[in-house]
Symmetry: C2
Subunit: 373 residues, 2 copies
């Protein structure tokens, strides 16, 4: 029986430095590297119970637990990870690490370039999701784990899961991509293009050379609002905001706002203080470039390397990474005879459904993991 | 037989001044008013063959024909209006006027306020679509037309058609709303909020007091790009751009662009020279505020006033004003026993389908108009 109340308790983010020069898909080198990560549960003596959780665009290594007893907010997937939960820390050793290119402890554009002593900013190399996974593998090696029981994640985390399965087939026993895609669509790219342009238009951005204490606040908040819309759905906005007008303003006030606008503005503004603008841009770029077929002859050629069982989820109201995009990959895997399960989950919460309504799909994950052991 | 090649020929935009104080939905007064309009064909002796065409957000009175023989681009619905065309100018007298609040010849925020001798800018009153229709009625009166045979339009034009039918039932024999909605959704409002914020973020906007020769170019281009995305669909972007990378740039260049981005940037930039930023904002506001039930007890109460036959179209890939939104209105009209026809048109071109693939639905319009005469 899945318990939902138990927490992994107080956790600490750990950091590990790798004195490497990682060769990236672009041909450029990146190093040395720092990776921030957290672990929950205990690695078994045979190291066969490790599950890697991969985070989405603006996520971080803090997937579960709290930093201290006063901490109001637990990790971003706390409902999923803990004793008796879906990723049961009484049974599994769960790892989450911040991706490279981000700003939550792992090496990214805001990190100091050891060769110049200054932040990389736009001299940071353009990354692909595959590069993130390559860096994660350093961590898995470091932790002494030969084989991951599962790699799981939503959105950009789904991409990482798939890349793990394809590029390190001998290191992965299963992958669980949730609300993912085999390649980002032009619609998703177009939305990211709006976000980029919103930042470029902000004079404070200074081609990425803003001072950390003076980030491009207005442009970045707007960029975040673009993302926010793409994570929601018309139905979820109807449920939450409808056409309600903000009480403060008159309907015929030029600057009057509907509640949905006020919400977007508030959330965009909130976000600015807790994420680095350049990191946001580099990760957006990695999302845009994502195509499982990259450097293969075809998608089928890439997917042929995924030899482990995979469990896929898509959400009916997700218009960013649409069910059709997941279904393309699943169909290709079926044609190749690969072991694959897929569930289309009815949910009104758009792309964010995987965070908002986990109870609609987690039982499939429990069963899937049980069968692996 | 519908001919598609004949043009209405050389046309001239006309202007008419009304020395009125138009009472707006907001309670504010607006006047005097200028309306820009064009007409095609000849008004019959009994004035019973007039069709009013209503334009969309950034449209204008120039719906058909060319201004001079060298004119490369005809009016925005030239494929629909002309001798032998759907709106057959051998039979019908077709009128199109620029809405108030716009900047294409009719009174809008860039017009001079006669009381101050300066442009209105943000002192211009917030308008609703109903106010646009109220101003159009002045023109129809001025042209000596007691009854319009039809009022037709797409998008914001669909809203105007419906408002005509509801507010002047004795003056309208039919309405043809295309790709419309009974009320804009929170998703549509959210997208407009992005566009607004993009403009507000531009220091050149100066709270609407930019000099006409120094408009907020960057913010306005971005605002237009937001709109552009919402008029397209994932499928149409796939068809037109796919994931093709712009030849100029390397994939691993930070500023490298996919073709879809380049296209959005180019089109946004192009638009800035031909539309006024404040007018764009006022019309966006009117779209957001649109709700057929406004000032009625309910939608049904509003729709009860639509006594003429109505012909509705929605497009399968339109995610801005979704088919479901049209279907809500159509269902309500049916319940009320009103004469209503509805066609869901399969098209990949999103909201823009009504401009891109008219051949998919125009035969229904021809038949509908034939039955009216």
């Amino acid at each position: 029986m899945t318990r939902l109340n138990d927490s992994v308790g107080i956790v600490t983010t750990q950091y590990v430095d790798f004195d490497v020069e990682l060769q990236l898909e672009s041909g450029r080198l990146l190093g040395p590297l720092t990776l921030a990560y957290e672990t929950y549960g205990t690695l078994s003596a045979s190291a066969d119970n490790a599950i890697l959780v991969c985070h989405a665009w603006t996520g971080d290594a803090h997937a579960a637990g709290r930093y201290d007893p006063e901490d109001r907010k637990p990790g971003w997937w706390d409902g999923m990870i803990g004793p008796g939960k879906v990723l049961d820390t009484d049974r599994y050793f769960v790892i989450c690490s911040n991706v490279i290119g981000s700003c939550q402890g792992s090496t990214g554009p805001a990190s100091l370039n050891p060769r110049t002593g200054k932040p990389y900013n736009l001299s940071f190399p353009v990354l692909m999701v595959r590069d993130m996974v390559r860096a994660q593998k350093l961590l898995i090696d470091h932790l002494g784990i030969e084989t991951l029981l599962a790699v799981i994640g939503g959105s950009m985390g789904a991409m990482q899961s798939l890349e793990w399965g394809i590029h390190y087939p001998e290191r992965v026993r299963s992958v669980i991509p949730i609300a993912g895609t085999g390649r980002t669509s032009p619609m998703a790219i177009a939305l990211n293009a709006l976000a980029r342009q919103a930042i470029y238009n902000d004079p404070s951005w200074r081609k990425g050379n803003y001072r950390p204490e003076h980030p491009p606040v207005d442009g970045f908040a707007l960029a975040r609002a673009v993302g926010h819309i793409s994570f929601l759905s018309d139905a979820s906005m109807q449920l939450k905001f409808g056409r309600r007008f903000s009480a403060r303003d008159g309907m015929f006030d030029f600057f009057g706002q509907f509640e949905i606008e006020r919400y977007l503005e508030y959330n965009g503004g909130n976000f600015v203080g807790r994420f680095d603008t350049n990191a946001f841009l580099y990760l957006a770029k990695a999302l845009d470039l994502y195509d499982v077929a990259w450097n293969f002859d075809s998608r089928e050629d890439a997917l042929r390397n995924l030899r482990c069982p995979s469990l896929w989820f898509a959400f009916s109201s997700d218009w960013l990474y649409t069910p059709a995009q997941t279904e393309e990959v699943v169909a290709a895997l079926r044609t190749l005879g690969q072991p694959v399960s897929y569930h289309l989950i009815e949910s009104d919460y758009g792309h964010d459904s995987f965070l908002v309504e986990p109870e609609k799909f987690t039982h499939y994950i429990v069963e899937f993991l049980d069968r692996l052991r």
